[in-house]
Symmetry: C2
Subunit: 206 residues, 2 copies
């Protein structure tokens, strides 16, 4: 009866909600995952590495991949493209991994529609908009203009949290990390992940 297949965990939340810090905190406690690296046309921030934080490509390269149907999802945010290449995801799911996505609300809508039965999703946010603003200002990696764009975007994104399975208010790192580890560890036992007719016939015959 232990029919296994891969599952998908989608994390979204405004820039500055503490998603990256949270992820670094929980990786050691999540079994057998594959972290999906997004492709983007935006410039790398200080300290970001190609192939680690993102695959950084030109606008021309990105648009060619769109034409070839190589993206599971993609979107234009803050005048830049962000997308998820299809091939590594397929491979990871075949290898029965938990595929973790850090994508925005638009990406979530698309992946949910395409792969609903294997998706668990979490919206991560700060306790308030003021906390978000102060975090964005204190990290000193973006210009004033970019911060303003991120805040405007965050105001729009928060509208979408009820389309997600879970809401984590990232106020206390320890609590948020425990919640995220729990969600990751049970993402594989969602009942929709199991093939009904196969499960039932196997269960009855064994």
């Amino acid at each position: 009866m232990n029919e296994k297949k891969g599952a998908i965990l989608i994390l979204s939340g405004p820039s500055g909600c503490g998603k990256s810090t949270l992820l670094k905190e929980v990786y050691k406690d999540i079994a057998d995952y594959y972290f999906s690296i997004s492709t983007t046309t935006r410039d790398p921030r200080v300290g970001e590495k190609d192939g680690v934080d993102y695959f950084f490509v030109t606008k021309e390269e990105f648009e060619k991949d769109i034409e070839n149907g190589d993206f599971l999802e993609y979107a234009k945010v803050h005048d830049n493209y962000y997308g998820t290449s299809l091939k590594p995801i397929k491979k990871a799911l075949e290898d029965e991994k938990l595929v973790i996505f850090d994508i925005d609300v638009q990406g979530h809508e698309i992946v949910r529609k395409k792969l609903d039965s294997i998706v668990t999703s979490v919206f991560i946010t700060t306790p308030s908009l003021k906390v978000l603003e102060s975090r964005l200002n204190s990290r000193n990696t973006d210009s004033k203009e970019i911060i303003e764009k991120r805040i405007k975007n965050a105001k729009g994104e928060v509208e979408y949290f009820q389309n997600y399975d879970y809401l984590i208010i990232n106020d206390n790192l320890e609590i948020a990390a425990k919640q995220l580890v729990c969600i990751a560890n049970i993402a594989r036992i969602k009942s929709k992940l199991f093939d009904k007719s196969k499960i039932i016939s196997t269960w009855l015959e064994n």
Copy 2:
């Protein structure tokens, strides 16, 4: 933004799936719960206590309560009534507790329909029908006739697992317990539990 309210965790699974043992194992690790005690007209099994395992009542008393609308859900299984009284559940939800139900697939359908946004549900089962039969035979609490009825019932119940959020195959007590604790601990952060318009206005203004 930490708007709190109660949540419901429904556990179902055939008699003999190990649900009771599993529950005893995990209670210490679940915060602030209220275990809903069902009311039944069936005879107590060896060791069962009134007000602990069930509220044991007569058929006449049960039918009077049905007439008075005192049940959240009830059903007739194996020629006996089983039901959930409404009042203690309302009180526990107001007290922001996690209300845990051990009810059958019919009860799950009804509670889900009535209280969908606050429900998380888990179907617990043995690895196979043979394992279930051997567990029922080895516990020596029921007659042959009752065991046969339970098995017949289990064959029907397994059809319903995909209406549940999670499927736990209770093969290894330690693993199953960890999964159940995780589900219980995140049942309170289901995004549907949060009042959307309230959350958004509070988030924007603070």
